[in-house]
């Protein structure tokens, strides 16, 4: 059955056909003398990123950008292009971490980094100013989510969440995974199957299950943020109508959950906006697939609906800008005006003829609760009409204990460190 699992995983846009094929491979290996009848030809669905295109858009040359899966040496990168506000400095903190995605910080200072297309989790240890990179876990299924609490590393794969207790004392000999919750991906879904993972102030593990395509009707588990209690395994849904969130954090003062969300593609260059959301009560619904950005009815699913049925975003971030990791800043290093800001890693647009994003921005929230977007780290985007338009892509931000901020870049397999000095 190893084969069937693999094939389904490798053909996310073709899961039905791959399933038929996998089943026939399995059967033929068991009953070799009686080959099963030929399966009827199943038309392959388009890859999930193309789903929802109009007929005219079939000739579009827009496409997602694949990471450089073997990583790239920092010495090859044009660092002089990076720009930060005065007093801030950026340096390479660690490299050789192919497809570095979400980040988590251990009690003893170990930084953990997950993968989305690849299958590994890395541990990066600071040894007297030099970083040692270890491939900690391998052979996992899209281990995009990593979170740390009280000695335990939690990992969200596409189908389950696992825990590795006492991990920082066992980086060279990690314990077996213990399952917190399984069967999160019973349909081997296409589309947004990778998960972000974070521990809430309530000690529960929060994670997303994205929509299984660009614009499709989700099932009751999909297009939502859930939480699971690692002590009991009890699962609850926290927010509905969330197409795909790959970053969230809690306001350190109010303890409210905030999250980023990716809106659908293939409406236009300028619509809809990706969004930032605040969860202020139970059972909030942010609109997918019926309403986007709080005020734009979907051309197909919006028929007969109104956006007034749904909860609007806290802030529109920009069309196709692809917000991923976000964290509130409460460190001691950056100037006072940065306290309580939200830093957001913008992975950058592909479904837009003029590209934007590929940066880290900050959201300033005033005393009235009004949120404003400001630039912070820029310079990865070098040619807004280019293909590719960028040389690096921020995925997650992580505030370190000294107040400095790490930024992961999955395109190059590098983690940067941003620091501030008056």
């Amino acid at each position: 059955m190893q084969v069937s699992i693999r094939l389904k995983q490798l053909h996310p846009g073709f899961r039905h056909g791959a399933g038929v094929l996998a089943a026939s491979l399995f059967l033929s290996s068991v009953w070799a003398q009686t080959p099963p009848p030929a399966a009827p030809a199943t038309p392959a669905a388009p890859p999930s990123w193309q789903q929802g295109r109009s007929t005219e858009q079939a000739t579009s040359t827009l496409h997602p950008f694949a990471p450089l899966f073997t990583g790239r040496a920092s010495s090859e990168l044009p660092f002089d292009k990076l720009k930060l506000p005065p007093g801030f400095k950026i340096e390479v903190w660690a490299e050789g971490i192919p497809e570095a995605r979400s980040l988590a910080l251990g009690d003893k200072g170990t930084v953990f980094a997950g993968n989305r297309n690849l299958s590994d989790v890395y541990a990066i240890v600071d040894r007297g100013g030099k970083r040692e990179v270890k491939k900690l876990l391998a052979g996992l299924k899209a281990p995009n989510g990593v979170a740390f609490s009280k000695g335990t590393l939690f990992v969200a794969e596409r189908h389950r969440i696992t825990r590795y207790d006492g991990i920082e004392d066992r980086l060279d000999n990690p314990p077996e995974a213990k399952v917190v919750i399984d069967n999160l991906d019973p349909t081997s879904q296409a589309g947004h199957f990778w998960k972000f993972l974070a521990l809430g102030p309530d000690g529960k593990l929060y994670f997303n299950i994205g929509a299984p395509g660009n614009i499709v009707m989700p099932n009751y588990m999909q297009a939502a943020i859930h939480r699971v209690d690692p002590k009991t395994g009890i699962l609850e849904t926290v927010a509905y109508g969330v197409r795909n969130s790959v970053g969230f954090d809690w306001n350190p003062k109010t303890k409210e959950l905030w999250f980023t969300n990716h809106a659908r593609d293939w409406i236009s260059d300028d619509l809809p906006h990706d969004t930032l959301h605040r969860v202020s009560r139970k059972n909030m619904n942010y609109g997918y697939p019926f309403c986007h950005q709080g005020d734009l009815l979907d051309p197909e699913f919006g028929k007969g609906r109104t956006c007034a049925e749904f909860d609007p975003p806290a802030l529109k971030l920009g069309p196709h800008i692809a917000p991923l990791g976000m964290r509130f800043y409460s460190g001691k290093m950056f100037p006072a005006e940065y306290q309580g800001n939200i830093f957001v890693a913008m992975h950058g647009s592909w479904n837009r003829s003029t590209k934007q994003g590929y940066n880290v921005m900050r959201v300033v929230i005033d005393s009235q609760g009004k949120a404003t977007l400001k630039p912070f780290l820029d310079g990865f985007l070098t040619d807004e009409k280019g293909d590719p338009p960028m040389w690096g892509r921020p995925v997650d931000v992580l505030v370190m204990r000294d107040g400095a901020m790490l930024v992961s870049d999955d395109y190059n397999g590098i983690i940067y460190r941003i620091s501030y000095k008056k």
């Binding site: 450089l68 790239r72 010495s75 299958s119 590994d120 270890k134 391998a138 077996e176």
Partner: protein, 197 residues
């Protein structure tokens, strides 16, 4: 137990302990050329294949070369001949090989394409949106391969594999794109691509 089997055993267990990833060094085409000695036995001098069933790798996009070698190493793309060669290569090796082969000139052996096949191929490659990803001259880009001047039997095998959903496909794009192709379409497209310069 050889190294690749050991890695596979660890991977099955979901654990790979103690492997320290080397910091990536700048891609080095000269080092790649040294590593390439074993590749050119089948793929031809400088990666220009003379064997219809073996692909040319000269002038392929560097990201395509490195990605495919990595997928062979990780066991996602499988081939009885290629998989063992990729099994022990580091990411630095892959980047070096990619830097070397992408810089070579593809001077394909003359592939006779009659006028009718050429016209049919041009029409089919428009109709099936090949140019949208592989580029207007089908020279490939980023992780997407060059088709122009590629060996025809190799191309036919790949397209048939995509149609049967047996060929490794990162996101399902080619598996989907190959579904409407008839065997005759595949022959025409392969001949057309092979004859392009």
């Amino acid at each position: 137990m050889n190294l690749s089997k050991r890695i596979a055993a660890f991977a099955t267990a979901g654990l790979l302990a103690g492997a320290t990833a080397c910091p990536a060094l700048a891609a080095d085409a000269a080092a790649g050329m040294q590593k390439a000695q074993v590749c050119v036995v089948c793929h031809g001098p400088e990666g220009v294949s003379g064997n219809p069933a073996v692909p040319s790798i000269a002038a392929q996009p560097a990201q395509f070369i490195a990605t495919q070698l990595l997928m062979y190493r990780e066991g996602r793309r499988k081939d009885a001949q290629m998989s063992p060669f990729a099994a022990n290569l580091t990411n630095t090796d892959l980047n070096n090989l990619a830097a070397y082969f992408t810089a070579q000139k593809l001077t394909p052996p003359a592939a006779a394409v009659d006028a009718a096949a050429a016209e049919g191929g041009a029409r089919l490659s428009q109709q099936h949106n090949c140019v949208q990803c592989h580029g207007p001259a089908l020279l490939g880009q980023q992780h997407i391969p060059r088709l122009a001047g590629q060996q025809r039997e190799y191309l036919k095998t790949q397209l048939r594999g995509f149609k049967a959903a047996t060929r490794f496909d990162m996101d399902g794009q080619m598996t989907s794109a190959a579904q409407p192709l008839s065997d005759a379409d595949i022959d025409i497209l392969a001949n057309y691509f092979a004859g392009m310069r």
